[in-house]
């Protein structure tokens, strides 16, 4: 038996070999003729990481997140009808089955209430802005107000998570992590994704580190939270009595040990850890240069407001954001807490607005006069809108507004954005009647501005490819310049 097998093999002579070979080669040749890119490396089609897929409009993003959801009806979405109809019940035809939060679900009446604060039109675009934002009113011709944002979540946590990661459940990478993953870091001495927190005087909702998570991406893409204290990055300084030379030596030896470990286990997180140590070492020179606000001239302090020198304030975070962005940080994320005006809106919202109005405006202007606004995308806004009716008792001079996912206003400025107003809500400020922008569309558009095709920026995890926009999202061409 064995011999027969051997013999059979001997029957395959050169003629057979050449005959089969020509057939095989022939079919391969035919295949390549019919499908020209059959044999090109399929990786060519997946854009390589680290560079924009096409010419980007913006190179960096500063996202001024207004945590807690500022009311669109007291900021950019002017609805005089609500003032006329104040106290009247929200018509069922307008509410149209909208679910409510647990906070108003047992309310029997939904009395409409107009803005306590007056509105005026500003700029050549004639954008309506409330009196709470007198400074932002000066830059309306540089910003694009999207009045037709809408989301799916109705409570803070899922809405925030949705806005940040494109999914309501946690565990997906944050927008900044995606950008760090897709575009890499411009300045290798600083993290590509930086996070700054501040807290206003209004009713606050917390923020938590899952909002700037790297999710399933490599942890090098995680947002790095800068401290609100005077020492912006904790434990960055060399310990007393040890010089940089020694640190260098220590890191080299540590990397060697880590590499041995890596060879043994192959865990990519070990490589990440080595890189993070290296970056921290380089941050030791880069950060002090940045964090030192004492050399900011008086006219800059005046622009941002005197608070900009007080660590942990929104103003100082704006100034810091400008400096980080100027130094090539891809994505600077600010969170300003305290925008959750369920009650006492009249009392709290002016304080919140005061915190952000001047510094935000200053940031946009400052970028503009440095020639950086056209390559930086500035985004201002919260996670959802607020209801057009009052939560709790409507008194003559105070009211509150509950969460409203069906419409809210945010604005963008700079890199590739067409200034003006986009989208429209109905007279009640409850439903969108023109050009709705879903959170996924917003993400697709932001990626587009950064030169990334949101359908091609993917990461394979648990057997399938994920995107920031997952399976949805359209680029909103109407807001592109």
């Amino acid at each position: 038996m064995k011999d027969e097998f051997l013999e059979n093999r001997l029957h395959v002579n050169r003629r057979h070999f050449l005959g089969k070979l020509s057939l095989g080669l022939g079919s391969v040749a035919l295949g390549s003729l019919l499908i020209p890119d059959l044999f090109t490396n399929s990786d060519d089609k997946v854009p390589t990481l680290g560079l924009p897929h096409f010419a980007p409009k913006a190179k960096r993003i500063i996202y001024l997140f207004q945590n807690g959801a500022p009311s669109q009806l007291e900021s950019f979405d002017y609805k005089p009808l609500l003032t006329q109809m104040a106290g009247k019940d929200l018509p069922e035809s307008i509410r149209n089955g909208q679910r409510l939060t647990g906070m108003t679900s047992n309310q029997t009446k939904f009395p409409l209430v107009g803005s306590h604060f007056s509105f005026k039109q500003y700029g050549q675009s004639g954008t309506w802005v409330s009196e709470l934002f007198p400074n932002m009113a000066k830059i309306v011709d540089d910003i694009c107000v999207i009045e037709s944002m809408h989301t799916e979540a109705i409570n803070h946590d899922p809405a925030l998570t949705f806005m940040q990661t494109g999914a309501q459940q946690g565990n997906r990478p944050s927008m900044g992590a995606w950008l760090s993953y897709g575009l890499g870091s411009e300045n290798k001495n600083l993290p590509a994704f930086s996070v700054l927190l501040s807290r206003g005087r209004g009713n606050g909702q917390g923020v938590y580190s899952k909002l700037w998570t790297n999710g399933f991406l490599d942890s090098i893409h995680q947002g790095v939270q800068f401290s609100s204290s005077e020492e912006r990055v904790l434990y960055l300084k060399d310990p007393e009595g040890r010089d940089r030379e020694a640190s260098r030596k220590m890191l080299d030896n540590l990397a060697e040990l880590n590499n041995i470990n890596y060879k043994e286990f192959g865990d990519p997180e070990i490589q990440t850890r080595i890189q993070q140590y290296e970056m921290a070492y380089r941050m030791q020179t880069a950060v002090p240069e940045l964090a030192d606000l004492s050399h900011e001239p008086d006219h800059i302090i005046k622009m941002y407001g005197a608070d900009c020198l007080v660590p942990g304030t929104y103003a100082s975070n704006c100034l810091m954001a400008r400096k980080l962005s100027e130094a090539g940080v891809r994505f600077v994320q600010l969170y300003h807490q305290g925008w959750d005006q369920h009650g006492n809106l009249v009392g709290e919202m002016p304080l919140q607005a005061q915190d952000v109005d001047r510094a935000t405006t200053a940031l946009v202007m400052d970028l503009k006069q440095r020639g950086l606004l056209d390559e930086t995308l500035v985004i201002w806004g919260g996670e959802f809108g607020r209801t057009n009716y009052c939560q709790g008792d409507l008194s003559k001079d105070n009211y509150g507004r509950d969460h409203h996912p069906r419409c809210y206003s945010i604005w963008m400025a700079g890199g590739g954005v067409k200034p003006g107003v986009y989208g429209e809500t109905d007279e009640f400020g409850y439903n969108i009647i023109k050009d709705p922008v879903h959170v996924n569309d917003f993400h697709a558009t932001v990626l587009h501005l950064m030169g990334l095709n949101h359908e091609q920026l993917t990461f394979k995890h648990l057997g399938r490819r994920y995107r920031l926009t997952d399976v949805a999202g359209k680029v909103v061409s109407g807001i592109l310049a």
């Binding site: 560079l51 090539g328 006069q369 020639g371 587009h448």
Partner: protein, 716 residues
């Protein structure tokens, strides 16, 4: 068989006569209607002779090897040829009839007509001499090859008439078209032409000009067709181009004809707005007003084409190795986007800057399009190096050391954007760069270029956007409040240290609860020693600024530590703190964060704690209870405080009961002190504090229980 042959041959002869007649005299006669219908059958009929002819070629190529009955084969072959000839003649005749109905361009038609007629003649002659030719194989096959070639040519020219030129190879040729961009092409090329190309060109081109209209060239499109001009500038409703689109589908004149792909709403709008805006062939997208309908619609068409604006660079990309080598922690060099030859370079961390690092970029001097030297110690001298990057379009020199000599930059003929903010350049220095041909933006905020020159320079250089200081707000604004360095509980003999984040600020303070003013209040010069629990208020003042808000804090000085401390009532389970330890740990809580171990919270029961000072009882002058006030969170001062004193817990008796004044309106959250004067030398103290049982009527939680929060207790 012979009879059939004769009949067919005569029939073909008749057709040939007709063909010749029509070919020569066609334009002098008018065809009857029914013949026009016959003419229109030409596109159907033409496939038959082509198919038969090919069948004939196959038959004659069959080798004579007795596969078939040779005689039968010969007969069939001849019959096929006969039929081919007949149908070819008929097709040619119908074709001529169709051509007489007009609407076809000249060149291709003539070629098609002549070649087809010649072909039909040739086939007829071929049959007549078939037997003679068959004996002479060389000539026979020669004739066949010639017939085949002619058939191919006639067929090809015919298809050009129906499908347009290059119908077959179009998909391959399409990709090679030059890409359009917003800058280099007109609105017509960008959005109007693609619509016409897709929906109109197949019938209105040079070779097939239905209705005499040729749309493929701008000149002939302007001329119009049989009915004259196709549009009235600015009046889409009166323009034939738009009218025919809106006719009912069944109407003869409706365009595109029924059965062809119709225009979409968007495409109709594009044509309409284009005519409305004057049917201009040359205007650029950017030249249209921003609110122009055409511009809006054009910018929303096909994003990938319109917004990615891939700039075209003529130079070759640098090798990846070179680019990789140029990257260091302090210098990033990378392509603008994937597969772009153009590079951008950024420098970071001024302390690590080296001129050599800039010089090394010479390796990519052709490819470098954007350069960011912001904050680097670059002087006028280094501009010579920068000037080598001849394709530079964007240069950022913000906060560099460049000063007066910008002449090297004159070599940067492609420079579009130059940032000089924060440098010492003056009006004279920028004169050189203002003459750069491509310059679009110049940033001179915070430089030596005086604002006084703004109007003059802007007028002289209208196509350059010069940005000066855009923040022109001279209104004085409020300073930030002073801060306290050692906030909370001071050690004995420790003094309070105040500070302010800004230079040159005067801090004034009070210790009596009054609001500090800019004239009379004490100026802070050195740390302030405090006698005991004190409410400190401070404000900052500076020339040109408004005085700050009041900074207010409760400062404590550490008291006498009790030997033993016991919490006699349990705090609310959510605010347990660290038990009795929290009361004398020297940590003051903050009024915003009560879920923190320095606080103990009570609501349902009273706070009750005992303090035992042991045998050598100190003389106590006062007791200070530090508590939280936060009306928004239902946190109030205690309603009532009782002080019990004795030698031990058995003989303690009530020394004092204090009713605490309650807030009468919402107030800001703060930590406050309740100072209870006592004169006592006993060793045992018991404190009882009752939370508010019913919140006052002005509060949103009226009638509910209030909270009492305590963080520290001092015995002095």
């Amino acid at each position: 068989m012979n009879k059939l042959k004769v009949i067919l041959l005569n029939l073909i002869f008749c057709l040939q006569v007709l063909i010749t007649f029509l070919l020569l005299a066609g334009d002098k006669i008018k065809l009857p209607l029914w013949l026009q219908v016959a003419g229109r059958l030409h596109p159907l009929l033409l496939h038959l002779p082509i198919g038969l002819a090919i069948f004939f070629f196959i038959l004659i190529l069959i080798p004579k090897r007795n596969y078939f009955h040779q005689q039968t084969l010969d007969v069939i072959t001849f019959l096929v040829l006969l039929l081919t000839s007949l149908l070819a003649s008929l097709t040619a005749l119908f074709g001529i009839m169709l051509s007489l109905q007009g609407d076809y361009g000249s060149d291709s038609l003539t070629q098609h007509k002549i070649s087809s007629v010649v072909l039909s003649w040739l086939l007829y002659l071929f049959i007549l001499n078939y037997d003679w030719l068959k004996e002479r194989r060389t000539i026979f096959y020669g004739v066949n090859v010639f017939v085949f070639a002619l058939l191919f040519f006639a067929g090809h020219t015919g298809s050009t008439l129906t499908h347009g030129e290059n119908f077959v190879f179009e998909p391959l040729l399409k990709e090679k078209k030059e890409s359009l961009s917003k800058e280099n092409s007109s609105v017509f090329q960008l959005v109007v032409q693609p619509v016409l190309e897709k929906k109109c060109f197949s019938c209105h081109n040079e070779s097939k000009a239905k209705g005499g209209l040729v749309m493929t060239s701008i000149a002939s499109f302007k001329k119009g067709g049989k009915h004259g001009k196709e549009w009235e500038e600015g009046k889409p409703d009166q323009s034939n181009l738009i009218k025919v689109i809106h006719l009912p589908l069944t109407h003869d004149q409706h365009m595109p004809p029924d059965g062809k792909a119709q225009l979409s709403k968007m495409e109709i709008d594009i044509l309409k707005f284009w005519i409305q805006s004057g049917a201009n062939f040359d205007i650029n997208l950017s030249a249209l007003a921003p609110n122009d309908s055409l511009r809006i619609i054009a910018s929303s068409v096909n994003i990938s084409k319109l917004t990615t604006e891939e700039r075209i660079f003529t130079f070759a990309a640098a090798s990846k190795g070179v680019v990789d080598k140029l990257n260091s922690p302090f210098r990033s060099v990378f392509p603008l986007y994937q597969n772009s030859p153009a590079l951008r370079a950024d420098f970071f961390v001024a302390a690590s800057f080296d001129v050599k690092a800039l010089e090394e970029l010479s390796e990519v001097e052709e490819q470098l399009v954007e350069l960011n030297l912001s904050r680097m110690p670059v002087t006028d001298k280094e501009l010579d190096i920068v000037a080598r990057f001849k394709n530079l379009e964007k240069l950022n020199l913000n906060f560099t050391k460049v000063k007066s000599d910008l002449t090297p930059l004159k070599k940067l003929k492609h420079l579009k954007s130059l940032s000089l903010s924060g440098t010492e350049v003056n009006s004279e220095a920028i004169n050189h760069v203002l003459l750069l041909p491509d310059l679009k933006e110049l940033f001179v905020w915070n430089t030596g270029v005086v604002q006084a020159d703004q109007v003059k320079l802007s007028n002289q250089h209208k196509n350059i956007l010069i940005t000066w200081n855009i923040f022109n707000d001279d209104m004085p604004i409020k300073l930030s409040s002073p801060m306290i360095v050692n906030d909370g509980v001071l050690k004995k003999n420790e003094a309070v240290i105040l500070k302010h984040v800004m230079q040159g600020v005067t801090i004034r303070y009070t210790l009596d609860g009054s609001t500090p003013d800019s004239l009379t209040s004490e100026i802070y010069k050195a740390p302030i020693p405090l006698p005991g629990a004190t409410q400190l208020k401070a404000r900052a003042f500076k020339e040109g600024w408004l005085g700050s808000d009041v900074f207010e804090t409760m400062c404590y000085v550490e008291g006498i530590k009790a030997n033993q401390m016991e919490l006699l009532s349990k705090p609310d389970p959510s605010y347990l703190g660290e038990g009795s330890k929290s009361l004398m740990d020297g940590r003051r809580g903050t009024a915003e964060l009560f879920r923190e171990p320095s606080w103990l919270g009570y609501r349902d029961n009273s706070f009750m704690a005992s303090f035992d000072f042991g045998k050598e009882a100190p003389a106590i002058k006062n007791i200070v209870i530090s508590y939280g006030r936060n009306t928004g969170s239902y946190i109030f001062p205690p309603e009532e405080v009782q002080v019990w004193v004795g030698d031990n817990d058995k003989d303690a008796r009530l020394l004092k009961t204090i009713k605490v004044p309650q807030p009468t309106a919402n107030e800001t959250a703060k930590v406050d002190a309740l100072i209870i004067p006592v004169t006592n030398t006993k060793s045992y103290y018991k404190l009882i504090a009752k939370p508010v049982a019913k919140l006052p009527s002005w509060h949103s939680g009226k009638g509910q229980k209030g909270w009492f929060f305590v963080d520290e207790i001092f015995f002095n």
